[in-house]
């Protein structure tokens, strides 16, 4: 009888164990088979040291506890609850917290409904992979700039050997802490096809789409102004300065993301990559703003003139990366079927990895003049006292090349060393062309 109770439980555990931010099994497990409950506690710590060499603008080299977390989970029959909390950087932060109901059907397909605060399915493959099991010290810059992280929502995931369809509805802010407007709404989905799945290798190709209507903003002159910040640090956590590749997009309305991904691994080798595209639309109450501008003799004369002088246009941004790794020794690479991601090192291992990343937050109109002294684009090709506003975005561009070496002492302790060369191009920072980042991490997970 006991056997009949335990077997379904084990099956559910197998489903749920991966549905969390850490993909390593927790060490401390409390199980009450009679009440069909399993409780786990785990923790993680990452200590990074980094040395930066820049052409011009310095980054602060040094060391930092970049991540420290405690995680807990509870499983009861088909139900799974997970929460983890971060203390990295000396600040408490809520990370994932969700409840999931899973069901294994007669065809061995899984169906899972998840509710809570967790990674957006379309946030990119990299963002859906726990940093603790990533093969680099940082995720690719493009996924930080253009991908998405955790959101509050509900999702449904279908998973079979060949297919995964993971989609959900989310809001943009977990606590509804917005000054004005509403909490926005996002519909996102990630879809994978696995032409090759066997014990030694996996090939998956996939795509993701995401539509977000931005809801929250601030009120100026009785107009709701919603702004989106995009940016990436230089693939490091010791100094997370994102000024080299970042931008602010005022009057944001909708955001449409689309991406494509590919992952292949065998026992000793993996390669994976993604392409990310972000399209943003703008909207504002122009008439009210125009009326508010008519408060002195320096009026625009007519609404049409005001509109001509304050154009709005949609923006397009792109990013991509390719990562590869070779296992010199250690347990084979393994694929997490439930999440559609590559797992981390497991046990004593040594691997060498390499990555190329491209991020562009530049969307500049041809023929415009850019003045560094004013950080402003001028549509007519030269500086003017009261120019028409430019719709150009000069967030910057990065081509980043990384090589790394990861050594895992055992399943709990991992050392990583990465060197990254960034080739930067941002109009506002013309002297910051080359940036070198050498960094190391010691990670402890249980």
């Amino acid at each position: 009888m006991k056997k009949y109770i335990l077997m379904p439980l084990l099956a559910v555990f197998a489903l749920t164990a991966a549905a969390q931010d850490f993909d390593t099994d927790p060490t401390l497990e409390l199980e009450n088979a009679e009440k069909e409950v399993k409780f786990t506690v785990g923790a993680r710590m990452m200590a990074d040291a980094a040395y930066y060499n820049s052409d011009f603008t310095p980054l602060q080299s040094g060391a930092s506890i970049t991540d420290a977390r405690i995680r807990t989970s509870m499983t009861y029959k088909d139900w799974y609850f997970y929460a983890d909390f971060g203390f990295g950087g000396g600040k408490f932060a809520q990370k994932n917290i969700f409840l999931q109901y899973s069901h294994l059907d007669n065809n061995d397909n899984t169906h899972a409904i998840k509710l809570g605060y967790y990674n957006d399915p379309a946030g990119s493959m990299a963002r859906n992979t726990s940093l603790g099991s990533y093969h680099f010290i940082s995720r690719p810059g493009s996924t930080n700039a253009l991908g998405e992280g955790r959101e509050l929502g509900v999702s449904y995931k279908f998973n079979s050997n060949r297919f995964m369809a993971y989609q959900g509805v989310f809001t943009e802010n977990a606590y509804n802490k917005i000054e004005a407007g509403f909490n926005g709404m996002t519909v996102a989905g990630r879809y994978l096809f696995r032409p090759i799945v066997d014990e030694t290798q996996t090939l998956h190709i996939g795509a993701n789409v995401r539509f977000a209507h931005m809801g929250g903003g601030v009120v100026t002159n009785n107009v709701l102004k919603k702004t989106l910040h995009l940016g990436q640090a230089l693939e490091t956590y010791v100094d997370e300065d994102d000024q080299f590749v970042s931008c602010e997009l005022p009057w944001i309305n909708n955001v449409f993301d689309a991406g494509a991904e590919l992952l292949y691994h065998n026992d000793r080798f993996f390669v994976r990559g993604e392409y990310l595209y972000k399209h943003t639309t703008k909207k504002r109450d122009s008439n009210t703003l125009w009326e508010a501008s008519n408060n002195n003799i320096d009026t625009w004369g007519s609404y049409d003139w005001w509109l001509a002088a304050n154009p709005l246009r949609n923006d397009n941004f792109h990013g991509c990366y390719v990562e590869a790794g070779f296992m010199i020794f250690g347990n084979p690479y393994h694929y997490n079927m439930q999440e559609g991601i590559l797992g981390g090192l497991d046990g004593k291992a040594l691997e060498i990895v390499a990555r190329y990343n491209y991020t562009s937050l530049n969307d500049v109109n041809k023929g415009e003049y850019y003045a560094i002294g004013r950080d402003q684009y001028y549509p007519n090709g030269y500086m003017e006292d009261w120019p028409y506003a430019s719709s150009s975005v000069g967030g910057g561009k990065a081509n980043s090349y990384t090589i790394g070496l990861n050594y895992s002492f055992n399943r709990y302790v991992l050392c990583m060393v990465d060197y990254t060369y960034h080739r930067l191009q941002k109009d506002f920072l013309p002297y910051d062309r080359n940036m070198h980042v050498a960094q190391a991490r010691v990670q402890f997970t249980f």
Binding site: A371, Y382, Y407, F409
Partner: protein, 560 residues
């Protein structure tokens, strides 16, 4: 276990070594270091040639003087000329009839009694002004209906207290001196105030009898050693008539006529101006001045600023070009052969190719001035910063931002950078720190900071404090900014003095302090100054006036 510990230890050691080996790396954004290592565009040869039209260590009397006199008036510029300043400085705005007027503020409230004379509406004398135009037989030129219709258009176009809304003749009805007496009690003088404001009588506009707002023609006349022609009652004599091309037009036709100003020596360059500018009045400036009996022979140049573009018509730069040509002060149409800035103890800048320096904060004005003047007349690109940044401000006065403005200035024909300086009483933002002066010098442009009010400021920007306790202190910008000044009979040191110098000329409200400092510290009246723009050569200003008049006694001598 031991092996693992050794591995972690080795890794830590390698990383520690990496950090400690990078001590030479810049640990923080350092303006001084960055100013030295970034690229600064260098003034091209054609602009460098024009730069050399300007005397080294030029003293520009800021609005004449805002300390001793009502600014930008006859009193202020006569005083500055007699003090021995190299330039009479002013701000240019166009009146409704297109006269280039000197006025600093965006309106005329502070420096005239306009709000008491005209209130805040179209002057009640406006119709009288139109009636004052007479035909040869004495009859009124414009009809009452035409005048009434134009008055309504004037009402529509009116901008209270702005220069652009008033005819020049109307502005001569104002008292431009009494405000100074009321605001500067210690320096007030009866001679600055008018005894009456202007008025309309017997078909004529009668001007006030004190200090007036000045036209650029006035400023040039004062620089040439003249003063205003006045009648026995002390009222200015300046007649006006309708320009010949408008002689047969109604006001409505003038309003609707083509509004375009063509560059006098190049018909391909022209700019249009708004209909509200009624450029139909011709003033008889040729007979508006007399020789100033108090003139002692100094011939300063003029340093004129194109104000923000929204205060002026788009033809402002062509207009100024043409006025300078009409007055014989346009070195492009009439180059000067005289090269001596000082002769026999007198200022002679006004007779050289350096007689006019243009200046502006405005990007529009800089752009248009380049189109008109082609970089052939000295131009100063002024710098200001505020939070939030204003339309013409530099927003980031970092070394990168500073270099960007220097490059842009050069691209549009500027030869001089004009940064603000700190210090009481203006308390402007500091934009001429040593690293900034260094970058300007590196660009081979002149550095004309503004504006000086004290001895302490002179000492600060001419390196005096660096060696306050003796010789031998060094600065990180000595390679370009340190100069060795040989003593003169007038210096307060003997032998030579080695100091870093953070300017090449400047705007001052206290010409007496500035000139005295320059003379005592060897920057003026010196035949062997090192020339920072021509290394190895010397610069000679030994013929400059060596005695600075007492400012108060001078005002008394001038009749105020």
């Amino acid at each position: 276990m031991f092996k693992n510990l050794v591995r972690v230890g080795l890794l830590s050691t390698v990383m520690l070594a990496a950090f400690t080996s990078c001590e030479d790396e810049q640990q923080f954004t350092n303006e001084n270091t960055d100013a030295r290592r970034i690229e600064v565009s260098v003034l091209p040869d054609n602009l460098a040639k024009v730069r050399d039209y300007v005397p080294l260590y030029a003293v520009a009397a800021h609005r004449g003087s805002i300390f001793w006199t009502p600014e930008e008036t006859e009193a202020s510029w006569r005083w500055a000329r007699e003090m021995g300043a190299d330039y009479l400085e002013s701000d240019m705005q166009a009146t409704k009839d297109g006269i280039v007027l000197a006025n600093h503020d965006e309106n005329l409230k502070r420096t005239t009694n306009i709000q008491y004379v005209f209130s805040d509406y179209v002057p009640t004398t406006r119709k009288d002004f139109y009636r004052s135009f007479r035909n040869a037989d004495g009859s009124q030129h414009f009809t009452e209906a035409d005048i009434e219709a134009q008055y309504q258009r004037d009402v529509n176009d009116f901008r209270t207290f702005y220069t652009m809304s008033y005819y020049y003749a109307e502005l001569l009805m104002l008292d431009a001196g009494s405000w100074f007496n009321n605001s500067s009690l210690e320096e007030a003088r009866p001679g600055f105030a008018a005894s009456h404001n202007g008025y309309y009588r017997d078909g004529k506009i009668v001007y006030s009898d004190g200090q007036y707002v000045s036209a650029i023609q006035d400023q040039i006349a004062f620089a040439e050693g003249k003063k205003l022609r006045r009648n026995a009652d002390g009222e200015r004599i300046l007649t006006y008539k309708i320009k010949d091309k408008y002689a047969n037009m109604t006001l409505e036709q003038i309003y609707n006529s083509e509004h375009k100003t063509v560059k006098c020596d190049d018909p391909n360059v022209s700019y249009s101006y708004a209909a509200k500018y009624m450029d139909f009045v011709e003033y008889d400036f040729a007979n508006a001045y007399v020789d100033d009996e108090q003139d002692t022979g100094n011939r300063p140049g003029i340093y004129i600023e194109f104000k923000e573009s929204w205060l002026n018509p788009k033809d402002m730069e062509v207009r100024v070009y043409n006025v300078l040509a009409e007055q014989g002060w346009n070195i492009i149409t009439k180059p000067e052969s005289e090269k001596r800035f000082y002769i026999n103890g007198k200022v002679n800048v006004g007779n050289t190719n350096g007689k006019v320096i243009l200046q502006t904060f405005s990007f529009d004005a800089l752009h248009r001035a380049y189109d008109v003047f082609k970089g052939q007349m000295p131009m100063c690109f002024l710098l200001w910063i505020s939070e939030p940044p204003y339309a013409t401000d530099i927003a980031f006065d970092t070394p990168t931002g500073y270099a960007d403005f220097i490059r842009y200035g050069q691209e549009y024909g500027a030869h001089i950078m004009g940064p603000a300086i700190s210090g009481a009483p203006n308390n402007y933002p500091e934009m001429n720190q040593p690293w900034q002066a260094y970058m300007i010098r590196k660009s081979q442009m002149l550095n004309h900071p503004y504006s000086f009010d004290s001895y302490a400021q002179m000492a600060k920007y001419m390196g005096y404090y660096v060696d306050y306790y003796g010789q031998g202190n060094t600065t990180m910008f000595d390679d370009l900014l340190r100069l060795t000044i040989p003593a003169t009979p007038y210096t307060n040191f003997t032998g030579s003095n080695s100091v870093p110098v953070y300017l090449d000329g400047y705007f001052t409200n206290r010409s007496e302090i500035s000139l005295q400092y320059m003379i005592e510290n060897g920057f003026r009246c010196n035949g062997a100054l090192p020339d920072p723009f021509h290394p190895g050569q010397t610069y000679d200003n030994s013929q400059a006036p060596s005695k600075v008049p007492d400012p108060k006694a001078l005002l008394t001598r001038l009749g105020y």
